[in-house]
């Protein structure tokens, strides 16, 4: 990421964000609301456009204000998980998982079902395969969403506050799945308010405030001895 900037009207949401994320790294994006965390994530995958700078994902280069097609490659490399799940409500859990492999990649249905069941098993939901989203709890829905993203065999996941809508005990089951995925070598970029999860699972923390990276480094450094005033102020409120 090099100098990524975005404004809404006169308000600057991202102001020259630059960083490098290595393959297999787990990065936690933390910071105050409105600090630009989610926007940065959405800029990577094209759900939001940025006005200046550029992002390089593997061999794919994304220019500011570039065409929609430049995101195709990135979307193959990164799956996205949303705060409010966004499962397809008219499909069962399994159908949610196999929709894209069958329709986008042309995978034969039987093969896709077999793989889909394995993925659901991996997130602990094999016996919920034929349930509709409305019949699942929040944590189960989010795990189906993760399985759905994994079905496209991405190299990493972009997670946008994926536990914010969940009760504490349900949060744990989702975060456990993420920890497993980290072990398997997926690159994870996680926007989160779970400071404990960030401390435990992240290789690196980026603290975003007012559209800039206020603090960046290993969890113990960023959380333990922040250098900037902005970071200290934020951490005081969340750790209190």
């Amino acid at each position: 990421m090099d100098g990524v900037s975005k404004t809404y009207g006169s308000r600057s949401v991202l102001d020259g964000v630059s960083t490098v994320i290595a393959p297999g790294e787990t990065v936690a994006l933390i910071g105050p609301s409105g600090g630009g965390k989610s926007t940065l994530l959405r800029c990577i995958t094209g759900l939001a456009r940025f006005d200046a700078g550029q992002i390089t994902v593997g061999s794919h280069r994304i220019e500011a204000r570039g065409p929609a097609s430049q995101y195709d490659g990135v979307r193959r490399m990164f799956g996205m998980i949303f705060q409010d799940f966004q499962l397809f409500p008219h499909f069962t859990a399994l159908e949610n998982v196999i929709e894209a492999p069958v329709r986008v990649r042309g995978q034969p249905a039987a093969e896709a079902r077999e793989r889909g069941l394995r993925l659901l098993e991996r997130v602990g939901l094999a016996e919920r395969a034929n349930y509709y989203p409305r019949e699942l709890s929040g944590g189960q829905k989010q795990r189906v969403a993760i399985a759905r993203a994994l079905a496209m065999e991405p190299r990493g996941l972009l997670c946008d506050e994926i536990t914010s809508a969940l009760d504490p005990e349900l949060k744990a089951e989702v975060l456990d799945v993420l920890t497993d995925l980290k072990q398997e070598g997926l690159t994870l970029i996680v926007v989160t308010h779970e400071i404990h999860f960030a401390r435990r699972a992240a290789d690196r923390i980026l603290l975003l405030a007012d559209g800039r990276i206020a603090e960046e480094g290993p969890p113990e450094t960023v959380l333990g001895s922040p250098t900037s005033d902005r970071a200290r102020k934020f951490l005081r409120t969340v750790m209190a």
Partner: protein
């Protein structure tokens, strides 16, 4: 409104204190009986207008025209809205049960008319033999004659339209009362009279059975007009005097004719006719709803995702077809469109049939409503669904088809089903272009038998049999899909 009362005959002073008589007649397209003067549309003219004026003078009481729908004349008379009905009403046994007919004032006959280049038949018998298509007016002597002959005539409400369809090749022949043929077909060089007029019958003035005194005065007035030759002068002026009129002087001619005809009412025939008409109603509803749903989806998608000019076009479509009455649309499609084709020198192959025009008309009209329902339904699907699908690499087209539309359907289907029920009932408007669907069939049957209540009940049941299951389906769909996530 034509209903602006017109005082005929001598002005005020001549008629002492007698209140004017209310004469009910339909001035809409009724040449040569009673119609608007093309030179001065604020004036009514016609042989019945002249006759009313002459009669008012003879009975010494003014006669004032009240605009009244032809179909409703007899019930209007018995309700007291009007005092007498004179509008080419034929004496029939069914009608004679409900009103007191005056002595006849005209002997009508039926005249067959075909296109000028017609060579397939030279008489009504040959026409019947070949079972060619014939148009005529609803509930007239001509329609009864054709039905007795085993034909299924196309039934119209207006007098001009059958001849228009004949000239356009949609009909092979038209059979109507001679005065109508004289007014509408004779001036048209593309049409010709076939054979001599036949099937004599009588026009008479209908009065309430309780108004015997008035009826006697009217009889006397007509007799005097006949005796002095005034009646003949009026008919000659309108070109409808002929030798048949000598029958008017034979006092018992009408009674003899009445005795010869029998009451053809049979409950089984009535039910069978209604069921057949229901099939027409179902055909129109199902086909036009399918068309409306298809067009509506295209318009909604154009409105939501099309380039700017297409969005404007879609908006224009919705406003246009939602903003005009479907009756107007049917008329333009069925009668106007062939005229345009003709003036462009194009084949009439592209002119819609009656059913075609009805299906197209309702389809276009309802496509505007369906488009708006679809648009609301599609917009009700959260934006996040698009984002989730895009993140999985799904194209916008694939997302719309697999993710958005199926979810929109749950919002869309209940109101669409409601529209379908509404359309079922709206199809009765198609009778304007001579489609005999359920309501039209009811009118025909009820009018001829004067059994408005019993046949109305049977018709109501048929409508409910069709619409209640649809309403049930709509509720089921709503229950199944209307649940929040």
């Amino acid at each position: 409104m034509i209903g602006a009362a017109m005082i005929l005959g001598l002005a005020g002073g001549a008629f002492a204190q007698e209140p004017p008589l209310k004469w009910g007649a339909d001035a809409e397209g009724g040449a040569p009986y009673i119609f608007l003067d093309p030179q001065d549309p604020s004036r009514l003219i016609g042989f019945e207008v002249d006759l009313a004026a002459a009669l008012a003078e003879r009975i010494g009481q003014p006669i004032v025209h009240h605009q009244y729908n032809y179909d409703g004349l007899i019930s209007g008379l018995n309700r007291g809205d009007i005092d007498l009905a004179m509008n080419g009403l034929e004496i029939t046994p069914d009608r004679a049960k409900h009103v007191r007919f005056s002595r006849p004032y005209y002997v009508y006959t039926l005249q067959l008319v075909a296109r000028a280049d017609e060579t397939r038949f030279r008489s009504v018998e040959e026409l019947i033999e070949q079972r060619l298509s014939v148009g005529t007016l609803t509930e007239t002597a001509a329609s009864r004659f054709l039905e007795r002959s085993g034909l299924e005539p196309s039934l119209y409400d207006g007098q001009a339209e059958p001849y228009q369809d004949l000239a356009l090749g949609r009909l092979d022949a038209v059979l109507m009362d001679l005065p109508i043929a004289v007014s509408y077909a004779r001036p048209n060089p593309r049409l010709k009279f076939i054979g001599e007029p036949f099937e004599q019958g009588f026009y008479a003035i209908a009065l309430r059975t309780s108004d015997e005194a008035l009826a006697k005065r009217v009889d006397a007035g007509l007799e005097s007009l006949l005796a002095t030759g005034d009646l003949q002068r009026i008919y000659e002026k309108w070109g409808i005097w002929n030798a048949d009129q000598t029958l008017l002087t034979e006092p018992n001619a009408a009674a003899a004719l009445l005795a010869g005809e029998t009451d053809g009412f049979s409950i089984r025939n009535v039910l069978w006719s209604l069921v057949q008409a229901s099939v027409v109603t179902i055909e129109i509803s199902v086909c036009s709803m399918a068309l409306a749903m298809l067009l509506g989806l295209m318009v909604a998608v154009a409105r939501l995702y099309g380039p700017r000019p297409l969005q404007w076009l879609a908006l224009l479509w919705v406003e246009f077809f939602r903003g005009i009455p479907v009756l107007l649309l049917l008329y333009v499609l069925y009668y106007g469109w062939p005229q345009v084709l003709e003036s462009l020198g194009m084949s009439l192959m592209f002119a819609p049939s009656r059913m075609g025009a009805a299906i197209l008309g309702f389809g276009l009209n309802y496509s505007a409503y369906e488009a708006e329902i679809y648009r609301a339904g599609i917009q009700a699907v959260p934006q996040g669904q698009w984002e989730a699908a895009a993140s999985l690499g799904m194209s916008p087209q694939l997302t719309f088809r697999r993710v958005i539309l199926p979810q929109a359907m749950r919002v869309i289907l209940p109101p669409v089903t409601n529209d379908f029920v509404a359309l079922f009932k709206d199809t009765s408007v198609a009778s304007a272009i001579a489609v005999v669907e359920l309501t039209k069939q009811y009118q025909i049957l009820a009018k001829s038998s004067q059994r408005y209540m019993e046949i109305g009940l049977a018709t109501t049941i048929l409508y409910l049999v069709m619409s209640v299951p649809l309403g049930y389906l709509a509720r089921r769909l709503e229950q199944r899909w209307g649940k929040p996530q």
